[in-house]
């Protein structure tokens, strides 16, 4: 490491590094609490877990994740390539419509399809009429409540994570590379498999891992569909057996497995560089005609219809039915909608900011080197996404309340204020939880954004006398704008749908749309729940459409 190169990286980097370290410590706080909980308990129940719980839960979880991984990759990459490489009627609408399932939380899609596909639901009733049966006792389709059912439902709402990251990658890939492949005699399939796909690998990996972590942490859909995953076991151990220590132990064991998998994937592409020439022309899509265009449309629209249109129409019709019977929507629903938007916006701002700090501190300053401490901070800061929301919330209780105590003390001494729960008594606790939980999305987005900016640009700016902060502001931020936008909108949509941590950490009298819906479902009044579910989906539509507009417009 020669001194001449070193000056490019270090001097003003220490402020960023400090920020990254503080953020990583913040993420570690709930983890440390969990470790403390885990070590305070006995390990007796592991015999029971090994004998009766873990084999099945591990198998279910592995099959669920494997199935979801295959499905989201096939749907997400397939759709992204279809939109990138081909031109057919309706392509431009489809290019953003493919993101719509992002607005539908997994627990809502399970709830909707359970009704749509139920023996007394519309589809089976229609099939019975067609076949001339009069009662579901004579003819029924297999029950949706099964592992395959869960894989299909989760796959069709989670594929947009892969579609989004891959589509951006395809769109900014140098057309010249793909054209070179074509000139060298590759077929269309060969261009995709041997050039486009390997180049998009980091984007696919990020998209798939986000989708898998969502699937892993899902409780609502798994509970609805009766799939006993590891997360459900954590939950059972804690809630039913009142064994927080045991639940923390399983959750930490799970976290270790996730960490190992993530590290392996990173190791696999350690030696590869993906920086690209930013002035690349986009790929010229191939015009499809006739049957081929029809097939392309049908293939493209299928995931949108299954993942969004059908459940949305269902929720809409349930809402209309409910309004016809009950007359009005309660004021509480409007208040919760306001709360949801506020808390999600604030959390998004801080999550993106924290992600930028962490990723910037850990960026590759030169071609091969990332500062090791900053890199560690970056990995730590993404662990929040791998912990089930409920467990994360439990881990956060102690640090948040300790922080409240400290703040109360300071405020009491300085201003004479009364002791109170500053974070727990306001939406501050929720914002902290969301930032920790969704930081992985923002760090991941910023990192892949930064990876596409060649380090030579920074070196050039610095050699021309620009300060590090100035380089960030005048060179990287403008180039990062799409990545920031994408990360922000994804975090926003996720924060709006978040349920388990919100349930535990929200202050008295504070409801979000998700908690409102959950309460309705807990009460067994699904009809009113449908109104809240529709509101969540509608509120999620705006950021999703914005996301689509900002991300997927053609790059010139």
């Amino acid at each position: 490491m020669s001194g001449g190169r070193r000056f490019l990286g270090s001097e003003a980097g220490s402020v960023w590094l400090l920020g990254a370290v503080l953020i990583a410590l913040g993420v570690l706080a709930p983890l440390a609490t969990l470790v403390w909980h885990a070590s305070s308990g006995s390990f007796e129940h592991w015999a029971h877990l090994f004998d009766h719980v873990l084999p099945q839960a591990f198998l279910n979880t592995t099959l669920l994740l494997a199935g979801v991984a295959v499905l989201v990759t096939a749907l997400g990459v397939g759709a992204a390539w279809l939109i990138t490489a081909y031109q057919f009627p309706g392509r431009s609408i489809l290019s953003w419509a493919l993101l719509l399932p992002l607005a539908v939380p997994t627990y809502i899609v399970a709830f909707a399809y359970l009704d749509i596909l139920h023996p007394i639901g519309p589809i089976q009733t229609w099939i019975r009429e067609l076949l001339g049966y009069t009662s579901p006792r004579q003819f029924r389709l297999p029950d949706l409540r099964s592992l395959p059912g869960a894989i299909v439902l989760l796959g069709f709402v989670l594929y947009p994570y892969v579609y989004l990251s891959t589509r951006i990658m395809f769109a900014t890939q140098a057309a010249s590379l793909l054209e070179a492949a074509r000139i060298l005699g590759e077929t269309g399939r060969g261009v995709f498999l041997r050039v486009a796909l390997p180049m998009a690998r980091p984007a696919i990996a990020i998209g798939v891992s986000l989708a898998l972590l969502e699937a892993l942490n899902d409780i609502g859909a798994s509970e609805f569909l009766g799939v006993q995953t590891l997360t459900v076991s954590v939950y059972t151990t804690w809630v039913t057996r009142n064994d927080l220590a045991g639940a923390a132990q399983i959750a930490l064991a799970m976290l270790c497995v996730v960490a190992i998998l993530v590290l392996l994937e990173r190791r696999g592409r350690r030696r590869q560089r993906y920086a690209s020439n930013l002035r690349a022309r986009p790929v010229q899509p191939l015009q499809l005609h006739g049957t081929r265009a029809l097939v392309a449309s049908a293939l493209g629209w299928a995931p949108v219809i299954i993942g969004f249109v059908a459940p949305a129409i269902y929720l809409l019709s349930e809402t209309i039915n409910h309004l016809a019977l009950a007359g009005s929507v309660s004021d509480q629903l409007l208040a919760s909608a306001g709360n949801t938007l506020t808390v999600a916006l604030v959390a998004t701002f801080f999550t993106v900011l924290a992600g930028l700090i962490v990723a910037w501190a850990a960026r590759a300053v030169r071609h091969s080197q990332q500062p090791p401490l900053a890199r560690i901070c970056a990995r730590i800061s993404t662990t929040g996404y791998a912990i089930p929301g409920t467990v994360l919330a439990i881990g956060l209780l102690t640090p948040l309340i300790a922080f409240d105590g400290l703040l109360s003390h300071v405020a009491g001494v300085v201003m004479g204020a009364e002791p109170s729960l500053w974070l727990m008594g306001s939406m501050g606790a929720l914002v902290c939880a969301y930032v920790i939980r969704f930081l992985a999305i923002s760090v991941g987005g910023m990192e892949s954004g930064l990876a596409r900016i060649p380090p030579s640009l920074e070196q050039a700016a610095r050699l021309l006398g620009e300060s590090p902060a100035g380089t960030l502001r005048r060179v990287h931020l403008p180039l990062l704008r799409p990545a920031i936008g994408a990360a922000g909108l994804l975090v926003f949509v996720d924060a709006m749908k978040e349920l388990p941590a919100t349930l535990l950490l929200r202050p008295a009298g504070f409801e979000t749309l998700a908690t409102w819906l959950y309460a309705e479902a807990a009460r067994g009044t699904y009809e009113e729940g449908a109104v809240a579910a529709l509101a969540i989906v509608l509120a999620g539509l705006v950021p999703v459409v914005l996301l689509a507009r900002s991300q997927l417009k053609p790059v010139y």
Binding site: V53, L114, Q228, S408, V413, M424, L503, R523
Partner: protein, 346 residues
Amino acid sequence: MNSKPARRSLLRSGLLAALLLSSVGQAALAQEVNLYTTREPRLIQPLLDEFTKDTGVKVTTVFVKDGLIERVKAEGEKSPADVLMTVDIGNLLDLVEAGVTQPVDSKVLQEVIPAHLRGADNRWFTLSLRDRVAYVSTDLELGAITYEAFADPRWKGKVCIRSGQHPYNTALIAAMIAHNGLQATEDWLRNVKNNLGRKAAGGDRDVARDILGGICDIGIANAYYVGRMKNSEPGSDARKWGDAIKVVRPTFEKSRGTHVNISGAAIAKHSPNREQAVQLLEYLVSDKAQSMYAKANYEYPVKAGVELDPVVASFGELKIDTLPLTEIAKHRREASELVDKVGFNN
């Protein structure tokens, strides 16, 4: 150097005085009570609204589905919680064991609530009873059934029930253990599992929906859902589900009684508004509130002689299993482990 600590302590005592004054002022004005509940608050909202109307005490609710204990514990002395409310005896006793409750010496509560439905240490109180019954397809001729009979091969592929790990079910299984022993209960649970028509998942109302959908003929669920479904607007889904079933109250072979769980409450250890909290509990066992439990929530009142909703009354007389609640709660962990062992939810 000397003056600094002195000045600080002066400042601190001044602040303390101000703080005391302000909190005294607040207590006099407050007239509020904070309710932490694991039950969906809108179910009891009408009761709370009546309470506020009659007493002028405002009730703020926090619906904490899971983690009530952890939250109250972590909040410690600063916790704003006054009343803690749960819908399962086990969850209620967990609160007592976690040390987040305090005893209440109230004549009213002691007179209204039978001794076996409140803690001997006066730390927990039952507010309503919830019987766990059989939902039976209206097409089926069935006058009576025992819980044991759900294991009968006659019902193969015909039984619907929610997750075995749900507190309503672990309490039932725990009662079975208390009556028949661990081994017999394991065999029973395994046979019930073999009789399931679908995964043990969803909620109690799904049992009625799946009976209408032809997936099952019979199922186990709480009785009050039926009151709510059969009283829904005609034409709504809930009404259709409710109308597809009838209720039969199963009994244990030994006691010939029906399994009952409770909704109950305790006063939080650091309750800042203790007086209003006790007032709320006493209100909830008054004739007026108990009648609302029965007529608006279709639950079984804990107070004797309160009139029932006609739908609930049509189920016939409720003969409660004689097993003490605390005895059932003791076997809860074994019950939960049995559910894992026989793979009931798999």
